[in-house]
Amino acid sequence: MKKEKNNTLPHLNWFKITKLHFVFAIFFFYTSYVFTQEITPQNGVYQTNHTYYAITGATIHISSTQIIENGTLIFKNGIIQKIGKQFKLPNNCVEIDLKGYNIYPAFVDVYSSLSITKRISKHKTPYPQLTTLKLGPYYWNEAVHPETNAFELIDPQQLSKSTEKKKSTKQQWINNGFATVNVHQNDGILRGTSCLINLSDQPLKDNIIKTKVANHYSFSKGVSKQAYPSSQMGAIALIKQFYYDLMWYENLKHKQNENYSFESALANYNLPHIFKVDDKLEVLRVMKIAKEFGIDFIIKTANDCYERINEISALNPKLIIPLNFPKPFDLSDPFVARFVTLKQLKHWEMAPYNPYILHKNNVEFAFTLDGLTSKKDFLKNLRKTVKHGLPKQTALKALTENPARFLNVDNIIGTLEKNKFANFIVVKGDLFTNGEIYETWIDGKPHIIKDRHLIDIRGTYDFKIGEVVYPVEIKGKLEKPSGTIKSYNLIVDSLTGVTKMDTLTSKMSISFEGKQGSFSFVVNDNVHKGVIQLNGSFYLKLGIFEGNALLPNGSWTKWNGIKNKSFKSKNKKESFKVDTSAISRTFYPNMAYGFDSLPQQQSFFIKNATIWTNEEEGIIKNANLLITDGKIKSVNQSKIKLPPNCVEIDAKGKHLTCGIIDEHSHIAISKGVNESGQAVSAEVSIADVVRSNDINIYRQLSGGVTSAQLLHGSANPIGGQSALIKLKWGFSPQDMLIKDADGFIKFALGENVKQSNWGNYNRIRFPQTRMGVEQVFYDAFIRAKDYQKLWDDYNKLSDKEKQKTNPPRKDLELEIILQILKHKRFITCHSYVQSEINMLMHVADSMGFTVNTFTHILEGYKVADKLKRHGAGASTFSDWWAYKYEVNEAIPYNASILHKVGVVTALNSDDAEMGRRLNQEAAKIVKYGGVSEQDAWKMVTLNPAKLLHLDHKMGSIKVGKDADIVIWSDNPLSINAKVEKTFIDGILMYDVYRNEQLYKRDQLERKRIIKLMIEAKNNGEPTKKPTIKKEKHWHCDTIGE
């Protein structure tokens, strides 16, 4: 025993303690160790602490499911000893009568950075920082620091006691009923461990319950100025790579160097993992990582999960959600009101339902105080969720049991049971409707928020001072009463003998503490003229003050005040109604033009159309088309038996084509299209960050686009993996990805990758010239080959040899590059001038693969013969040039020359605006170079399908292909052509008439919600001025600062 009393050993023991032993542990710590066997030498005599405290008479909510009326709770040294109905109290027991009060377990904030010192970056220059500045045995990336421990970063000042002069930060938690907080440094991607603290006024050492309680994560690199990662997909790749590195490190047979980041991550691996994200799509992204690594993430997110509740609840996550809800907007100016999107309006209405919807879908969650700008709104917002359907039990659970269980500390906090902390709150009334928190007890010590013992002296009195009686009225707030006193001056007119009375009503200054009241005021009557000061004792049961008065003339006398009427509060009781009527108002996606419910596949029979087949048949006039089960069933068949429920469409005078495929697009991407932090970033993938609620998806549908390759940008020679999507508006990111599509990756050449236009400071990252770009490629491919050899050699080893040999490290970047060498992944390369195009083909030839597509390729016409020989395709702009030096010799005849030479040529947008009129871009190739209309049309349909290896199911009107169909008002290449209908997989995704209806519906929906906002405003809710969320439109060149 004696040995265990040094400073570190008990901590170690703590972590080894299993649940079964926990009772013993509590006993050990709190009874024998902390109090009776004090380690720290004391100045003065030792204080014992054997006193029991008993709460009696209260309604005790032991947990969210168990309530004891008139219960008793006994605790000692901050630990609950016994709880139940009335029973005999121990002898040395202080009894606290809480009859009429509710006792709830105190709340646990599972996500906070209260009292934690902020991280700072050492980087001070405007030049890019390529490597970490945290030198030593740490991970290479400054945003990954699992070795950070919150318990070492606590600023005790912020946890110190509130005094009259200073309000401590922690008081905001205590006022809202929180006793325990899980704090971490909220900075970086792997943020390190959090620590569990009680918020009592004891010394910090006694308040820290657990030094390491959970691991924390986010997608944001925080203050790190290290260039990588610069995007969300980069952060995702970094987390994955870290975990592969960690597994590798763990399996090393002999370690040459110890790495403290890995050591810490391994040591803490069994703690819970908490991941902070910003929205519902990011929740889905975390769940993908969770699946890959078998980590059970607890996800801290926003109140928008209801928008993707089916996808989220299917994954059965644990969530942490804030209790903050959007404020209503002040929309009095109709022009300014437009700045508020329907998305924002709908979110204002729906966000308070989010907890209820999660509950209904059996998603477990905890509430946090984090994210509330005004912490005073906490209880108000908690009640809002109850008003919006959340059962009180679930609400209590989300504040107590769930956070405790999420953190694996439900054996010490979360409910009021024996051997748990005496952390509870004293509430008058119902916490979830209109109750008030009077006290928060932490570790067995009270923190007074409202004085339970406060005596209400308010009412009307007769103050008898000497022989004079004054009517007095005391009103105002209970804690700070105010009052008035009346004095009467009788004046007898000496001439007429008529008596006149002057009344003086003067304010009293009142102070009342304990049972002693003092008053001072001015009177003017026949006896006293001037200031009277009173002191008196209050006898509550009688309602009488009695004491001494100092009169205006300086003499003392006795006085008393007798209450004749009690004070009646004018506060109306707010009606508390639960209303869940609006929960089915979510659109897919939840914004303008969203569908009321997801559209379904249907059978369509389209007749009398001019069909551009892109096949041998060419253009067929007066033709019909049958779509069933998402596929083209028949093309211009004469005798057709229509399936049941088939929708017939007469397309007389209209043109019908397959959907446009945009080979190069940057729409529908979250938080960064470029991972520009490194020259090679093959490990990142756009598929990880598809954003299904980008309005541009809908806008492209209105231009007849049905599929797109979402490309990484062109900020580095080897960019990231593409996402091939169908523009299925309303569907989830996962459902938009084209199944079984080949993998593609973005490469880039020229000015962007050598950072020519990035200002004066970006002259550090290799390469800065076209010469360097070539070497980046050779280096990457040679490294990939070496990597393969490393694994091959290792895999050849016998099991016995493997036992002694360090395994190779899994490298996500090189694995992707290897796929290229193995013809399993295909390059789309951003390119402009002929020299570098030629170069990449040489690199590819020497490495034994073919460059699939050169994109932009505005000087492709200069090397068209070489492209053809190499077997590369081209995806270009119709007529762009002059925006950079390298496009000085770009010509609009490029596409036609490439086409005439026999290169598969496509036209792409690289631009959300142009993406919706790619038909016009195709028409320009008729003008520039005289390509036939049908061949020009293929440049935005069949040819991109070929380049994306999707021509077996898209790109032409052929039986068996996907029913991705567009009906045009005119020849699609005509300036007059407008899209009337767009189908994807046999689903009508866009219809020009329905578009008008959706627009009108949106206007009515806006009006409906604005009316609700005005009501909320009139009910006293604070409003905010309109602000709009600006959408980011990406191009290849969009880069970080």
């Binding site: 950079k884 407008k978 709009i1028």
Partner: protein, 436 residues
Amino acid sequence: MIIKTLLNIVFVLSLATTYAQVPTPLTQKFKNILLLNGFAHIGNGETVTKSAIGIKDGKIDFVKNALTYSVDKTEWDTIIDIKGKQVYPSFIASNSTIGLTEIDAVRATNDFRETGLINPHVRALIAFNTDSKVLYTIRTNGVLICQPTPRGGLISGTSSVMNMDGWNWEDAVLKIDDGIHINWPSKFTNTGWWAEPGEIKPNPKYKQTITQLIEFFKKAIAYAQLKHPNPTDLKLKAMINVFKGNQRVYFHTNFAPEINDVIDFSRRFKLKYPVIVGGYDAYKLSERLKENHFSVMLENPHHLPHFEGDLTSIVYELPKKLQDAGVLFCIQNAGQMEVMNTRNLPFLAGTAMAYGLTEEQAIASISYNAAKILNIDDKVGSIEKGKDATLFVSDGNALDMRTNNVVLAFVKGRFIDLSNHQKQLSEKYHNKYHLK
């Protein structure tokens, strides 16, 4: 050297294009030119199906019906039969930086943004580069007149209107210093960062900036009263013609709250020729704009809607809305890569046609209307007697990508060279690969 034959168009083309590697302003050899049998789009909404257009000394002498007009061959040194083709007045690229920049990303070539907030004295005129390579790729699509315009600041500077053919700016200029440009501040400003644009919040400096502008205008009016200002104030001097002459004041702004303030501002200073440039919301305030004699240079219709909930096609439909409201407007194409994109100006009008304008209204939106707004309609903008013969002939409908094929073009009655380096490169590589 006078040729009194009926020239076919190929021959004229060869005269016009084979002079040199670099397109060169051609020396005028022909004084009296007759264009016969083309479908004439006058520009003001009228058409002549089979036209006879007489050009003498650089001016349009007449536009007649070819069916009733009898040709006197002695009167013409050149007669060109353009049967089956279409004649248009020059399209006009208003609010442009043509000639003020060559390559967007190369700072050394950028001459449109001066430092400082109030710069009415800086003039686009003298920076206009008649030898810009971009210029030659634009006029081949029918755009022969432009309004080089300074950018940036609060008062960006003074624009001029130029013919896109000439040895130097003095030679090319059509209207010197046509107006000053004001970047009306936005009531809202951006927050957030590049990967995560934040909310747009009320601009705290809006009021202050407008006050600054008002103070400057007050001073300028006072200065304009002086007969012999001493000392000379260049900035104030540059404003004199706004108050004394016909100079336009171009207010660059899009949204109704700002447009309302612009109208109030214009009323306060009794501006004679105020113009809204941008004007996304102009149709919502059309009555007020008309009452206060505003005209509008509409934002590029190939632009995404400014509000997420707006109809996707709203930008395409704005020209029709202004046409119906009776507001004088033209279409311009300022925006990303605006200079090289100017060659698509005809297709912007084409899109407006697809979304409601008649063909002739669409043509007027980039010719006649633009000329009126720029105060050059006495010289150009339509094919009418007495105006400069600045016009072009296209194989087919010039507003449609497939048929816009300019085979002949004149600036002030002079043939212009329709070659450009892009055509030459195309030819070079067609030859290399033996293509047709």
